[in-house]
């Protein structure tokens, strides 16, 4: 790791050519701050493909996003990244130098990057910022650096968590519940507006999931057919989840075909509004409780 500051790779992202006038707002601190979409999800859920699709979609709407890749171990990044952690940190070198295995390598790479993250933030502009996170979710959600990066972003820009789920793997109600509990755990960790993306709708339609989220009894029936494990506990957990669902934003998407994206952006602007309310609430409460 040399001492040179990070350089934003502007050429990579500006394929569209012109910078939007609102892009400079981040520097001037004036009106529209860029909205950050932090894309989280389990490995294999389709985060990177989703970011790729989202990027293409935004380019088509002439709103090229600012894209950041935070996965140090990915082979190829299929979208033009403005900032790529791999430019700053060489994951294989890190493993070698510190004698780490692959997981240790990813976490350490992220740690190294987090120390420079304030520099990254100076470059952020455009209307939308997309952040692709490492494949294994806990490397980001259960690590100090993941937390640092998320909190740094959230304190400077409106942020929304986009949680990508593999719909085809969630048809089993037990898996579904397990996955939703985990999503809920991330909601509590980040405390940010939350959108669940049921991805891979090209393989299977997500209406079963919507039904489970809207009809508690339907979910319980499906669950009872699968398992009798501590049924009181699972029933109580379903009730907790029911509460979670009632205010959850869910969009069915196929990153491959691109379906669902318009609906997604409707939800994104709703979520952005929620962020505004949240910040003003926190400001207020801080005034009431200065410590």
């Amino acid at each position: 790791m040399d001492g040179a500051p990070l350089v934003g790779n502007e050429e990579g992202g500006g394929a569209g050519g012109s910078t939007q006038p609102e892009g400079r707002a981040a520097a001037s601190g004036a009106q529209q701050k860029p909205l950050c979409l932090i894309v989280l999800g389990m490995a294999g859920s389709g985060k990177t493909t989703f970011v790729q699709r989202l990027t293409a979609h935004l380019y088509a709407k002439e709103r090229p996003p600012y894209v950041i890749n935070l996965d140090p171990a990915v082979h190829e990044v299929p979208f033009p990244a403005n900032i790529d952690i791999r430019d700053t940190v060489n994951y294989k070198e890190v493993m070698k130098q510190y004698g780490l295995g692959p997981n240790g390598g990813i976490v350490t790479s992220l740690n190294l990057f987090a120390t420079r993250f304030d520099q990254v933030m100076k470059f952020i502009e455009k209307k939308y910022v997309l952040i692709d996170t490492p494949g294994q979710i806990e490397v980001f959600t259960w690590s100090a650096s993941g937390t640092i990066i998320t909190e740094a972003l959230a304190s400077s820009f409106p942020c929304v968590v986009v949680y990508v789920m593999d719909t085809s793997r969630s048809v089993n109600p037990v898996t579904f519940m397990s996955n939703m509990l985990y999503a809920c755990s991330i909601l509590y960790k980040t405390k940010l507006p939350f959108i669940v993306i049921m991805n891979k709708t090209d393989i299977i339609d997500h209406s079963f999931a919507v039904e489970w989220m809207q009809d508690f009894e339907a979910f319980q029936d499906a669950l009872n057919q699968e398992t009798s494990y501590v049924s009181n506990l699972t029933r109580s957990m379903s009730l907790v989840l029911d509460e979670f669902y009632s205010s959850l934003r869910v969009v069915g998407v196929s990153a491959i075909t691109g379906s669902g994206l318009d609906e997604l952006f409707v939800q994104v602007s709703e979520a952005a509004k929620e962020y505004e309310t949240l910040t003003s609430n926190i400001m207020e409460s801080k005034l009431l409780n200065p410590w």
Partner: protein, 285 residues
């Protein structure tokens, strides 16, 4: 005669391997025999001798280097675990069949293995077929729990794992010895949580009605089901470790049908040159 297993799980960096080595040492001091099996194909190195190591069967590095497969670290791990699931007889051979075995299975961290892949569930079923009583032990780094919302996040992650495995589970907060004095006091609130008062303290932090209702529902759950609570783990505190062990033993009913056994002698002199004591023990079994 049943055998006993702990499946040691938790996010990366939560301290699973340290937990295993500490527990093994602790067990020795109270005259019990505890062994460890490493099931993490991406593990680096350990501080303890293991009974079996999945890396002898298959290693993530080798998988990732294989040109025909071209996997990244996650794909590599999934491949290893699925390979393992197709070769349980390897594990069966390593475990042998000693009655009254008490074995810790040091598992990989990735949550996908518990929620999306059937491999961990298959392992549990296999172990149960081999007459093991299995308890899940879910570890979370206490440094990540020092605040109401984060604590709840930890509880939910533990529940997420619990739901998919369908075995008794004990949740542990690790690295308590690394907490500052202030943080320790904070965490103590969550160890025997009177959740409702905790909620009131943070009423100002609960920014919206929706969060309030959800938090209330979760607190109710924690209150009603002690299984969901966390135990502290401080590797410098023998008493605390005893408590953890007792909880786990209780959940798998260890000790209920033990035959009376001579306690193992702790070695105070250099070991007997022809290992008489060692062989003597074996014969008595």
């Amino acid at each position: 005669m049943p055998r006993f297993a702990q499946l040691v799980m938790g996010p990366a960096g939560s301290g699973k391997s340290t937990y295993c080595s500490t527990l093994v040492q602790h067990a020795e001091t109270i005259g019990r025999s505890v062994q460890v099996v490493n099931l993490d194909p991406a593990a680096e190195h350990f501080h303890y001798p293991v009974m079996a190591d999945i890396r002898e069967l298959i290693q993530v590095d080798d998988v990732m280097e294989d040109d025909s497969l071209r996997f990244g670290p996650n794909g590599g791990l999934v491949f290893c675990m699925e390979y393992f699931a197709n070769n349980f007889d390897w594990l069966e051979e390593c475990l042998g069949h000693v009655d009254d075995d008490y074995i810790l299975f040091d598992c990989p961290g990735q949550i996908e293995l518990y929620t999306h892949l059937p491999v961990m569930k298959q392992l549990v079923e296999k172990l149960q077929q081999w007459e093991f009583r299995v308890c899940g032990v879910f570890l979370v780094d206490s440094q990540f729990m020092v605040e109401t919302f984060k604590f709840i996040s930890g509880v939910l992650a533990a529940l997420s794992a619990m739901t998919s495995l369908e075995i008794p589970q004990v949740n542990i907060m690790t690295k308590m010895d690394l907490l500052s004095h202030k943080a320790k006091k904070e965490i103590e609130k969550y160890l025997d949580p009177d959740m409702y008062s905790m909620m009131e303290d943070n009423a100002l932090g609960l920014r919206s009605k929706k969060f309030k209702k959800l938090t209330k529902a979760i607190c109710g759950l924690i209150d009603d089901y002690s299984m969901v609570r966390f135990l502290p783990f401080d590797r410098t505190d023998e008493e605390g470790m005893n408590i953890v062990l007792q909880h786990i033993d209780f959940s798998i009913q260890y000790g209920e049908d033990l035959e009376f056994k001579e306690p193992r002698e702790t070695e105070e002199e250099p070991s007997n040159a022809n290992y008489d004591d060692f062989f003597q023990d074996k014969v008595d079994d």
